[in-house]
Amino acid sequence: SQQGEEDPQALSIQEGENATMNCSYKTSINNLQWYRQNSGRGLVHLILIRSNEREKHSGRLRVTLDTSKKSSSLLITASRAADTASYFCATALREGGTSYGKLTFGQGTILTVHP
């Protein structure tokens, strides 16, 4: 079963605008990751944020994590048509104090960036 919910399910913006996607989850986690998936392709790892971190940046990506609310957000700044894809959050659960890294994915946000 899916761990979390992503919001919105679909997002349509113009090139140059910012895109924000949200993810909520249900259990304690070791880390949360964001992935991108182009149609018919595999998942590409974007960024990982650990449970003791609150914010992380990578290029045009900014991820926040609020463990008290069990939520995360992914911000893509200055979007480009090439950013059009599905975006998934995935959590690695804390299991008995260790985690071998099994990921539980949300249902994804479909982002469309219009040129």
Binding site: R41, G42, L43, L48, L103, Q107
Partner: protein, 112 residues
Amino acid sequence: GAGVSQSPRYKVAKRGQDVALRCDPISGHVSLFWYQQALGQGPEFLTYFQNEAQLDKSGLPSDRFFAERPEGSVSTLKIQRTQQEDSAVYLCASSTTRGGYTFGSGTRLTVV
């Protein structure tokens, strides 16, 4: 190789047929995962290997699903007596012990 390689890329099977899906992980990656992704959904965990040991198979939906990684490298996911609900993209991922997952492009299985 440089990435995770999965084959075949597409597979059409008649209902009741057995299929075998192959995953070549990144050389040296200890951990290997299989996920199933239904259309319009996020991937769901099937099974996990650490080297040749299958440490978690809790996500396998039925005893028709079987996975192996006999030499701790290449892995095969086998589905016996395929059914229509098995139609999905099957994704393989490998990682080092410190995390950092690399996914393959997946095998799209269609059962007709």
